[in-house]
Symmetry: C2
Subunit: 311 residues, 2 copies
């Protein structure tokens, strides 16, 4: 039986899944990795994948596609750009996978783009051909799907919606070197930063936080009626709704999906986000749907497998 | 020989062209119209088209496609939305054309989207599959092309890039009811308005202007060293460059094309516009090309014919 592998490459491990060609996830595992730069490390990955296939009675010859999502830019031709956050030699890994799975088509996909494709294949956006996924984690990523295909961009910057400018007067720099990007207010780190600033303004101590991206504690505080948490989430919704309204005058998608870790709090901010979008959008696009993504942390794994099948 | 008709519907006349299926414009004419709402007016159009075909020795049976571009929204399914600026019954006209040209596929396209398709078929964007056309006339329209197809949008608002917000602090309302839209600064009327304001600030009389959209006179003043004209064109370039940078973080196209009446002055503002874009864009997308459109006022006629062939 034909199988497709979806591989989500992170900083300290990879997560790999075996899929049917219809998009059913049959088994998955996590393989620890230090860096993916030499034959020894590539062999750890390919052996791990062969063992994973054995769990569902499959062999390397059954594999028709291997998709890999990475936290960095991949352009329209599938070329991988600069990868500041992980130690990966994409060409080397590609060669090793090609040797191990000779029938397979290979594809690299940007992680947020992969998450969008996953939702298209088997998630909330099934049968929706034009939508935008917003992946809110440490940063804000995005996946733009037009006519059923992800838009990677001529320079790999398609879907970089965390860098839509929402505040031209911002003095702080974004990681990209520009000022006032969506990511500065609506990412996990942005939410926590704004929360702390609001606490300072109100002269109250923040709740105990586990690090600079602990939005779970901010959401808990929000539920307990914390005014600073309310202000931080309002700011997040205002900025995100404004950014989505900008996307709508360009692409006018059918649907926005909110994914990534922060989407765990979706129910707490959904109404505020929808109201903010409607405040800023063109009247004609007010009826767009804004929904939570449904595949959680597996979305990118699904999507990279899907992309490998499309190639 | 198979022919395709491209029809550009304006307020007081239609412009129609006969094309080969390869995109060669063989003949064109202008047919005056009052309103396109009843059988008498539809007959004026269809008879005009039959006469036009006769010029190139063709008959109604040769026509395999009829495309019509209109100054209003058309959604992804080809449905025509509200048309505030023209008196047109699209269904009636469609029926009349179907009777007159029984072999033809029919298509409605938004005018700026049609202009983008025209440039794709036979203009500057030939063989470019991902680009955005900015049509700067009385207003600012746009046509977004992804993977060789125009993005009309779920609610017909795809490519409404004149309504990208460039100034959240603007107090004046845009025609859309929102505030600080690109169109308020970078359209012909926006340029003329800013020019007059700059004259007032400088305490000088504006050059003689033929109406509220006479950018030709502003460009002439610019060439003569007029400081207010310089400030107005700088403002236009700043706003447009900023807006294109917003598009690039979403779609990251290969190319931007500047069309519409104002593009007549392209050489005068090209360098300033490119510098403004580079000031605001993500570093990865700095190398995008920003070029003038090449089909002038015929672009939409080309594009609507092209769309009819694609349907």
């Amino acid at each position: 039986m034909d199988k497709v592998l979806g591989i989500d490459i992170g900083g300290t491990s990879i997560k790999a899944g075996v899929f049917s060609t219809e998009g059913e996830l049959q088994t998955a595992t996590r393989i620890p990795t230090r860096e993916l730069v030499n034959e020894v490390s590539f062999a750890v990955v390919t052996e791990g994948l062969v063992n994973l296939l054995a769990r569902v009675d499959a062999t390397p010859d059954d594999v028709v596609g291997v998709g890999l999502d990475i936290p960095g830019p991949v352009d329209d031709d599938g070329r991988v750009g600069m990868l500041p956050n992980i130690d990966l030699n994409p060409e080397g890994l590609q060669r090793a996978l090609k040797r191990a799975f000779p029938r397979a088509k290979l594809a690299f996909v940007n992680d947020a783009n992969a998450a969008a494709l996953g939702e298209l294949w088997h998630g909330t956006a099934k049968d929706v051909s034009n939508f935008v996924l917003v992946a809110i984690g440490t940063g804000v990523g995005g996946g733009v799907v037009v006519d059923g295909k992800v838009v990677s961009g001529a320079f790999g910057a398609g879907g970089e919606i965390g860098h839509i400018t929402v505040n031209r007067n911002e003095e702080r720099s974004c990681g990209c070197g520009r000022h006032g990007c969506l990511e500065q207010y609506a990412s996990a780190s942005g939410i926590v930063r704004v929360y702390k600033e609001e606490c300072k303004k109100l002269g109250v101590a923040p709740v105990s936080l586990e690090g600079p991206t602990d939005t779970l504690s901010v959401f808990n505080a929000l539920e307990a009626g914390d005014e600073a948490a309310k202000a931080a989430i309002s700011c997040m919704c205002d900025c995100l709704g404004y950014a989505l309204a900008q996307i709508s005058v360009i692409l006018d998608p059918q649907m926005y999906l909110i994914g990534g870790g922060v989407s765990g709090g979706f129910k707490l901010f959904a109404e505020k986000l929808r109201a903010s979008y409607r405040k800023y959008c063109l009247a004609s696009s007010a009826m767009v749907r804004i929904l939570p993504a449904s595949l959680g942390n597996d979305a990118a794994m699904y999507g990279s497998a899907f992309q490998a099948m499309q190639n």
